[in-house]
């Protein structure tokens, strides 16, 4: 029998540490996702409905529209780096801790 079958997954989910991981990840991931989608669609919407703003020149011939399009790159990269940082520091440690416990407890029973 595979070891997995001896793991009580309901107990894993109920573990307070798992619940903490779950709540933290849910708020963090969906929040970032919503921000990313909103920021992205601001570009085509702005280009279509706020053309006067997009035309406004800032530095020489460079206008708001061009800077806003460039900012999309910065924001996408920023989200990626921010997420990686939090995941590397926080989520991974918590997940590893839970996994280590589960496999330690599961092994004797199988």
């Amino acid at each position: 029998m595979p070891i997995a079958d001896s793991i009580d997954w309901t107990a894993v989910i109920a573990d307070p540490r798992f619940q903490r991981l779950h709540r933290r990840k849910r708020a963090f991931l969906w929040g970032l996702m919503a921000f990313s989608v909103a920021y992205y669609f601001a570009l085509p919407i702005g280009a279509a409905y706020f053309q006067d703003l997009f035309r406004t020149r800032v530095v020489g011939v460079i206008n708001v529209g061009l800077l806003f399009a460039l900012s999309e790159f910065v924001v996408a990269w920023g989200i990626a780096l921010y997420y990686s940082r939090v995941a590397n520091r926080e989520f991974d440690a918590l997940a590893a801790e839970i996994a280590a416990d589960v496999t330690r407890h599961a092994r004797p029973r199988s």
């Binding site: 595979p2 997995a4 011939v61 529209g65 790159f73 590397n88 996994a99």
Partner: protein, 632 residues
């Protein structure tokens, strides 16, 4: 790419109609150079395949390189898988012809990876094994979900593959003047060689090599273009908008309103939105298909099974975003640089879609059409374009073949049996040959067809069917088999159905009206031109001569159009005009796909799927991988 490639299609149709670029962009005297550079690139990839082939023994080696690819390597491979000829040549071309709108178009291709990074990559790594079907089958009825999953993967891959094969034939013909059919067969055979012998190991390395070549070539060109301005963006842009060639292009695009504008205003207009995208709703719909569809592309999903851990999957997406985003920033300079140095009119003369902007810029930077360095740079860029297509096609064929061999053959046909590893590898290889042969056949059969719609369609199906199913089985407890089957069927049929009644198809009546308008106006225009030619003023004569050439072209195109739709009153679907004025179906098909999964799941309640939820959710979050596949 694979981008929603109106450009590629335009290229396809114009080349089919009038084989003007008979000998390709490269000068005849330098064809040996082009072929030599091509040979060097091909030899490098074949050597890699030779070594990779020795490492392919098990199904895991064939499908996922044994999970032994590092995060950094996978990041480059994802970029290589994703940056198709359409994004490489197409976006630079769009920028060179339409300025700002072309650059805006590139943004969605990068933002798409935020969705992949936050929601898809790591859970898929933790739950899946070789295919999309594995993820769907985890807590649902394996036979049913593998079947619908595999059908969707095959649908998406076939749409995407067809566009790539047609693009390959057209591009190679335009670049070096090899016949369309020969180009398609060459791309097909080469790709088959990589995948068949080297499996995922060779495919990965071909994608890495291609991505590195693409980035290096772009960086070299951008440095040469930007250096004269001391790497100042405002100085570079000021020179672009001050260029008479660019101003003339804007005047041409705007038509009558341009007459009231000064040269400076015309130039500045090149940096403002609205020269290419006319209907915001189309762009938003396309944006939705990109941002959610990328996360459902089977050949991209598959890449996350090649790394050992969720951390490596995360790292690979971050690297991929750095490379892909960096590349699109470079296309800003490639596109605007080509507009300034080569000129939009010159670029459009070689290819109306602008696809040759990058190669022409390379040739110009190297010293022009008559110089050795110019032709070497052209040859190098062309070889990179070729490698680009082959690498993308290889990834697609591998994804489709794995759906056939792993999901349909092993998972459905021989369900419950213990299929020996050797037989699985054999099945995978046979499926590869089948898919490859079909790709070549479709590529040849689709010569001259409008394939742009197919790339948009691939993204739309991936976003409307694959994405809702994968997302909800990973994140929603109540999701089950009925929901997955409903979502796949509804998402795919709505996306395909809406496209079939969209303005993307040819509507003979509309074509006829437009053509007659051109022909009816011809005599009056001709008379004005003849009068100007006889006026004796050099400036007016020169203008009239240009006008005559343009008029002749327009008249020829109108006649060709009329000939093409002769005897037809309705589109392929029997419609006189589009039912829906929406070019990309995403706006409707994505919400409907989600709705189908949700309603199906609520209606067909499945206790097992809910019991399994704890396991799925715990595993996708912690990466506990004990006996991952033994249970199904």
């Amino acid at each position: 790419m694979s981008a929603g490639t109106p450009q590629l299609a335009m290229l396809a149709t114009t080349l089919a109609a009038a084989p003007a670029a008979h000998h390709g962009v490269a000068g005849d005297g330098y064809r040996w150079l082009t072929l030599a550079v091509f040979a060097a690139v091909i030899v490098a990839t074949v050597v890699v395949t030779y070594f990779a082939a020795k490492r392919v023994r098990s199904p895991a080696d064939f499908y996922t390189a044994g999970g032994g690819i590092s995060g950094l390597q996978n990041g480059w491979a994802i970029a290589g898988d994703y940056l198709s000829a359409a994004s490489f040549l197409g976006i630079a071309g769009l920028i060179s012809l339409y300025g700002y709108d072309g650059f805006m178009y590139s943004v969605g291709w990068l933002v798409a990876y935020v969705t992949v990074l936050l929601l898809i990559a790591e859970p898929c790594r933790n739950i899946g094994k070789y295919t999309l079907g594995d993820i769907l089958a985890y807590r649902n009825d394996p036979k049913k979900t593998r079947l619908v999953g595999a059908l969707s993967v095959i649908t998406v891959s076939t749409f995407y593959l067809t566009a790539q094969m047609v693009g390959a034939g057209v591009l190679v013909k335009a670049l070096i003047g090899i016949d369309y059919e020969v180009s398609v067969v060459a791309v097909g055979v080469l790709m088959l060689g990589y995948v068949l012998f080297g499996g995922m190991v060779a495919t990965t390395w071909v994608q890495i090599i291609k991505a590195v070549l693409l980035v290096v070539a772009s960086i070299v060109i951008v440095i040469l273009v930007w250096m004269p301005y001391g790497f100042s963006l405002p100085a570079f842009m000021a020179d672009v908008v001050g260029d008479p060639k660019v101003q003339a292009q804007v005047a041409k695009l705007l038509g009558d309103p341009a007459k009231a504008m000064s040269a400076a205003e015309l130039g500045q207009r090149f940096l403002e939105p609205g020269l290419y995208f006319k209907a915001p709703i189309d762009q938003i719909s396309l944006g939705m298909a990109l941002v959610f569809g990328t996360a459902g592309l089977p050949h991209i999903l598959m890449r996350f099974f090649t790394v050992p851990t969720a951390q490596a999957a995360r790292k690979s997406v971050v690297w991929a975003m750095a490379i892909i985003g960096g590349f699109y920033l470079l296309t800003l300079f490639l596109g605007f640089g080509a507009a300034k140095l080569v000129g939009p009119a010159e670029i459009a003369a070689v290819d109306p879609g602008g696809n040759m902007a990058g190669p022409l810029l390379a040739q110009f930077i190297g010293g022009g059409a008559e110089s050795l360095l110019g032709n070497f740079m052209l040859a190098f860029v062309s070889a990179v374009a070729f490698a680009t297509i082959v690498a993308v096609v290889a990834g697609l064929v591998l994804a489709a073949a794995s759906a056939i061999a792993h999901d349909l053959w092993v998972g459905v046909w021989r369900a419950g049996e213990d299929v020996p590893a050797q037989e699985q590898v054999l099945a995978a290889r046979l499926a590869t040959v089948l898919v490859g042969a079909v790709a070549i056949a479709i590529g040849i059969a689709a010569k001259g067809q409008n394939v742009a719609v197919l790339v948009a369609l691939a993204f739309a199906v991936a976003a409307s069917a694959n994405f809702p199913c994968v997302l909800l089985t990973l994140y929603w407890k109540r999701c089950n088999t009925t929901g997955i089957v409903a979502g796949m069927i509804v998402g795919t049929t709505v996306a395909v159905g809406l496209t079939l009644v969209s303005p993307n198809l040819t509507y003979p009546k509309t074509v006829r009206v437009a053509a007659h308008k051109v022909l009816d106006a011809e005599p009056a225009k001709r008379a004005t031109l003849v009068e100007a030619l006889g006026s004796g003023e050099p400036l007016r004569i020169a203008q009239a001569a240009k006008g005559t050439v343009a008029l002749d072209k327009a008249v020829k195109k109108a006649r060709d159009d009329l000939h093409n739709v002769e005897g037809r009153e309705t589109s392929f679907m029997g419609l006189e005009k589009p039912l829906l004025e929406l070019k990309n179906p995403g706006l409707f098909s994505i919400p409907l796909g989600f709705l189908a999964v949700i309603l199906g799941s609520l209606l067909g309640r499945d206790k097992r799927a809910e019991r399994m939820w704890d396991e799925v959710y715990a595993r996708q979050n912690t990466g506990m991988r004990v006996s991952r596949s033994a249970s199904h």
